[in-house]
Subunit: 273 residues, 2 copies
DNA sequence: AGAAGGACCAGTGGTCCGTA
DNA sequence: AGAAGGACCAGTGGTCCGTA
């Protein structure tokens, strides 16, 4: 009941393998390092099985490639669009929507699970590291966070399923996973059982995070920075705001306690968040 | 021969006092904490001598004030433009140009000295700290560097003599001052004696910095970050490039040494920078 | 209805170049 | 000529909203 934590790389049309990832056994449930060769839908695969074809990294690139100094510069070798299976696809399909899965569970049907979501954050970290190494080699300034540059790099490297709005949208869910995996797992199980949608689960992830922040002096930035997987992500605005609001409420409450002697208000604030 | 290190706050038209600075005895030569009440040209002073007038911080503001949430929000009290001395001035005068002064020396005539220049970096640090405190209070994201926001804040606080192009222009000079004051002082004396202009002195500041970087593994970013006064400034592009170029040259040279056994090439590179 | 992501936008880092 | 700084510009962080 707890196999390798897998999900479909749901790119329907084509599913490139994330390339040149230094695997690390971080994150979701089971044994690390298996996402690349995952149950990819059999439609079509990027054909570098040979593993050494030229650069081992023949990558797809968006034709728009504006500022293409990132990957390798041979802008010419367009090895795109040979029919092979059925469904030809230049028209990029969207990723399958996420559903709330419990740890280790593979999403059925045209869905993606939460382990896969969290895996994407690991991929971004790997891409960031590559961008950092490039920058260091070239003596350029070196990003410490997942910036636009990193997203651009990821896209050029073929990871078209990574994009900024998505990653930013779920950062705090990943944060909970990094900071308190127990709680994160419990929440997933609970919301799966209740058959809640992803949006509801996502919303619910804020509360335990605020509680963690409360315990650690309300400094979300410090909390993020202290965790190597999290430190590369910007603290989401909404999480920051929630922590601020709750801290203020707590301050008011505790001062009214110390003035009036009544603990009721404080209790109210803490309970009703 | 080594009095308090002073310079004219050279705003000809009006010279506001930098306000609410937590003085710290950092930086240039003599006793800290004297810049505010400095030999300000007697033309006109901002009249809050009373020290407690309302907020103790009635500040001039550029009329353009676009996004005015920074200082205090009473956008209305325009206490500008009453004639008093002679030279009325809405037309902002430029700052007097810098000349190369030795440590502790006050610039004569319509000039500013290098101690004053370095003092401006301290002021920026103070403004940054204020902006940071504001951000923390409000639960907003907190800048770690002197950003546009800080320059805007400084301007609104009346420090019209602080501006981004100027501060960025001389960052590496300040860096040398912070990292090796001995060398910095010696360079100033040398260039003063040679009657070089500021531009020449500024150029000359790069070389000893690159030498410092060489000694410390070429990581300029780490060097900046390790110094509390420097860590708030972006590493100047040109300094980064010089370090990179020199590191590459050194690498080539040393490898050619280890291959050919000749130390001449290495000697050449190091000497000719 | 719920969700993925292209694309927009205000404000950034960086510095050029018209100005004094 | 040498220098100060207004103002511009490419690319950023942030996220909305037209799309599927």
């Amino acid at each position: 009941s707890h196999p390798n934590a897998l999900d479909a790389l749901s790119q329907q049309g084509l599913s490139e393998k994330p390339v040149r990832q230094k695997r690390e056994a971080v994150g979701s449930g089971g044994s690390g390092g298996t996402w690349e060769m995952v149950s990819a839908p059999a439609y079509r695969r990027y054909h570098d099985q040979g593993k050494k074809k030229g650069q081992q990294q023949k990558l797809r690139r968006t034709k728009s490639g504006r500022r293409g100094d990132e990957i390798n510069e041979e802008e010419n070798d367009e090895e795109v669009e040979e029919e092979e299976g059925g469904i030809s696809c230049n028209e990029r399909q969207r990723e399958h929507p996420f559903i709330v899965t419990e740890p280790g569970e593979v999403a059925r049907g045209k869905k993606n699970g939460i382990d896969y979501l969290f895996h994407l954050y690991q991929l971004c970290r790997d891409f960031l590291i590559q961008v950092q190494n490039l920058a260091k080699d070239r003596g350029e300034k070196c990003p410490t966070k997942v910036t636009n540059q990193v997203f651009r790099y990821a896209k050029k490297a073929g990871a078209t399923y990574i994009n900024k709005p998505k990653m930013r949208h779920y950062v705090h869910c990943y944060a909970l996973h990094c900071l308190d995996e127990e709680t994160s797992n419990a929440l997933r199980r609970e919301f799966k059982e209740r058959r809640e949608n992803v949006g509801a689960w996502r919303q619910a992830c804020y509360k335990p995070l605020v509680a963690i922040a409360a315990r650690q002096g309300w400094d979300v930035d410090a909390i993020f920075n202290a965790n190597p997987c999290l430190s590369i992500w910007y603290v989401p605005t909404k999480l920051r705001q929630l922590c601020h609001a709750e801290r203020s409420a707590a301050a008011v409450a505790s001062s009214s306690v110390s003035i009036s002697g009544s603990a009721l208000i404080a209790g109210h604030h803490l309970a009703n968040f």
